[in-house]
């Protein structure tokens, strides 16, 4: 009886190993779909899924492999990110895409490095994501660049004293805030810095502080949950100066918060849906049709078919991963990691080629204005640091 049981167990363990041997390759999707950054994470997943629907297979060693997306929710929390990353590794993914949010990417990076699985950062902009992890690459611009861009733009808007508000302990916001402050001071202008703690809802006092300090612009890179509260309360207190933020604010949550209010909100981002380059235009029309065909996808996109920059980045990240798999001609994570530095790809968000650290060389940001009347983002201008 015992022998029979042992035999059954052995068979049970061997069968899945055979089942896996058929031609599938797994790509891990490491994104938040709940928590503070859930809304943005969902849009990034949509971009990846759309890319997967267009290119569902990849050729390795002359054989056609089906790509299977393995999606894990890191809940926007650094402690949950570690277990989500471990879960991806244990499901034998060949390469990982994500995450939205720098903090969770750094937390997951250690796990991926230990397992030797390469990860491609989609919209995590903190420099340390790639700097501190040899297995992380990234296809978007970085915070030192973004912070400088926004500091320059604030100056163009006529600001002389900035109020910088970030959440304590959030890698993304604190980092971006720091680079903004450095750049803004380098322009010879003044800065007031303050922090709020996780779970804050009452921003009235912070907005009062901005006013009483005589600030004429606010820079508040933070998760959209807080952003909506800040915008709403700033509008209630009749704030007339502009509020600026980074890429996370390019989200329907911001539009909903600003809609119908007398408030000026600007953000920098990676992509503009009215970009008239052929690849980008194709992507936008295809993605919109794909979203509109399925109401649950439309809901995940925030209830409309506005194309978020992170969806475009997700689309590019997936294709970069396929290019790396093709270049490696293998499903082995180590081979893909070896091939990644040499990959170049002409994406919808611009050309992608990696530098020594593993970052894409990108030097263009799109500045957008949350139009309170139309409830959509208006493209303002593209900006690079040189300006």
């Amino acid at each position: 009886m015992k022998k029979l049981l042992a035999l059954v167990l052995v068979v049970l363990m061997v069968v899945p190993a055979f089942a896996m041997a058929d031609n599938t390759i797994r790509i891990g999707v490491f994104e938040p779909s709940t928590g503070d950054n859930g809304a943005g994470g969902k849009q990034e997943i949509l971009g990846i899924e759309y890319a997967n629907s267009l290119a569902p297979t990849v050729t390795i060693g002359g054989q056609e492999y089906t790509v299977e997306l393995v999606i894990e929710d890191n809940q926007s929390l650094t402690d949950k990110a570690v277990s989500a990353a471990q879960s991806l590794v244990s499901k034998d993914v060949s390469v990982v895409l994500g995450s939205y949010g720098s903090g969770v990417s750094m937390a997951g990076g250690d796990v991926f490095a230990e397992a030797g699985v390469p990860a491609i950062g989609v919209s995590c902009t903190n420099p340390n994501v790639t700097l501190l992890c040899d297995y992380y690459w990234r296809i978007c611009f970085l915070d030192p660049f973004q912070g400088t861009v926004m500091a320059n733009y604030a100056k163009e808007l006529g600001a002389t004293k900035a109020y910088v508000l970030t959440m304590l302990g959030e890698d993304y916001g604190v980092g971006l805030g720091k680079y903004f402050v450095e750049a803004f001071k380098a322009l010879g202008l003044e800065v007031v810095e303050e922090n709020f703690t996780e779970g804050t809802s009452d921003f009235a006092a912070y907005i009062n502080n901005a006013v009483s300090n005589g600030c004429d612009v606010m820079f508040a890179p933070c998760a959209t949950t807080y952003a909506a509260l800040i915008i709403d309360q700033a509008a209630a207190q009749g704030i007339s100066f502009p509020i600026l933020a980074g890429d996370t604010w390019e989200n329907s949550a911001i539009l909903n918060a600003a809609k119908g209010k007398d408030i000026k909100v600007y953000c920098s981002t990676f992509f503009d849906e009215n970009d008239d380059a052929a690849a980008a235009a194709d992507f936008v029309s295809g993605f919109k049709a794909w979203l509109n065909a399925d109401s649950s996808k439309l809901t995940n996109n925030g209830g409309n078919d506005i194309v978020a920059a992170v969806s475009a980045l997700g689309f590019d990240a997936y294709n970069v991963a396929l290019a790396a798999i093709t270049a490696a001609d293998s499903a082995d994570p180590a081979a893909i990691a070896a091939a990644l530095p040499g990959v170049t790809y002409e994406g919808v968000t611009g050309a992608i080629a990696f530098d020594d650290v593993g970052d894409a060389k990108k030097d263009m940001a799109y500045i957008k204005f949350a139009n309170p009347e139309t409830g959509a983002f208006d493209f303002v201008k593209t900006q690079s640091v040189a300006q």
């Binding site: 859930g38 809940q75 779970g199 006092a205 502080n209 009749g238 909903n256």
Partner: protein
């Protein structure tokens, strides 16, 4: 000077009033059951979600009473299902049960809403922006403290001058004796939870009109601070809870005004420790040589 401080004071009184609405629920239940109802903050959050889902299909005038009703039902059901069967169990068990309910509610909301922040509906009257001297704010900021004081006065009258109030006082003094006197303690306790939940529902309408994003964990911080307020004011005392909450709300905003934004929460809890060191029963707590 006053001009610069006015907006902070307004924000402080308003947020304090909202904490007070929650704190009354803690203090009432504690006064009668000697139980810290950890699920109270989550009932407050649930009221926020009820409002979001109801206003999606109903006009606001009907939604608000329905939200209060649904929240009351939720509070009542929680008491009947999770606390009543443990009436004679050790106090620790019922406390653990309360923590369990809190996590259950949180995870249920997480599951149903998909974990994303939802935008609270705009209540046309309360959301109006008004100007007071140098400060612009929503009308709800002014309404909150007035409504809070009104409700607390009404509640104190209810407890001091009605039959059910007398029963509540009797039960809070001695469980078994009041039972022997013919008081139906189960219905008294249910009434306590109903009043507490109704206050939490009204508090949530005021709170979320000001702070418009609702997430499954949004009630945790206000809940904790309301609990601190209840202890600060002397747990068991209703006016104490209100005054404690107002003090905490105002102090919190003044600390931020002083530029110490990162320490405002730390301050709240430090204040609690200091008060408890000097007045273990809180500001208005009865000097109790209790059997606990």
């Amino acid at each position: 000077m006053f001009d610069t401080l006015l907006p902070y004071l307004l924000a402080g009184i308003s947020v304090g009033g909202q904490y007070a609405m929650i704190a009354v629920g803690y203090t009432l239940v504690y006064g009668i059951l000697r139980l810290i109802n950890f699920a109270h903050g989550d009932i407050f959050t649930a009221a926020g979600f009820f409002m979001i889902y109801l206003t999606a299909s109903l006009p606001i005038g009907i939604s608000i009473p329905l939200v209060i009703l649904l929240t009351v039902v939720l509070g009542f059901v929680v008491e009947r299902v999770a606390y009543k069967p443990l009436r004679s169990a050790p106090r620790m068990s019922i406390m653990i049960s309360a923590i369990g309910v809190s996590y259950l509610l949180q995870n249920l909301m997480w599951y149903i809403t998909g974990g994303l922040a939802k935008q609270y509906p705009v209540l046309p009257f309360l959301s109006q922006t008004i100007r007071l001297g140098s400060a612009a704010t929503k009308l709800v900021t002014i309404v909150t403290p007035l409504l809070t004081i009104g409700l607390v006065v009404a509640l104190v009258m209810l407890i001091n001058h009605t039959k059910i109030g007398m029963a509540m006082r009797a039960v809070s003094v001695d469980f078994e004796t009041s039972q022997l006197m013919g008081i139906k303690i189960n219905s008294v306790i249910s009434v306590t939870f109903i009043i507490g939940s109704a206050m939490a529902a009204i508090g949530s309408v005021l709170y979320f009109t000001n702070y418009t994003a609702v997430t499954p964990t949004v009630g945790a911080m206000p809940g904790l601070k309301a609990f601190v307020a209840a202890v600060f004011g002397g747990i068991g005392s209703i006016p104490g809870a209100m005054i404690g909450a107002l003090i905490i709300g105002i102090c919190e905003n003044l600390i931020k005004a002083a530029g110490l934004t990162a320490f405002s929460d730390a301050f709240t809890f430090a204040l609690l420790i200091v008060v408890l060191l000097f007045r273990p029963t809180g500001l208005f707590g009865e000097k109790n040589t209790d059997k606990v």
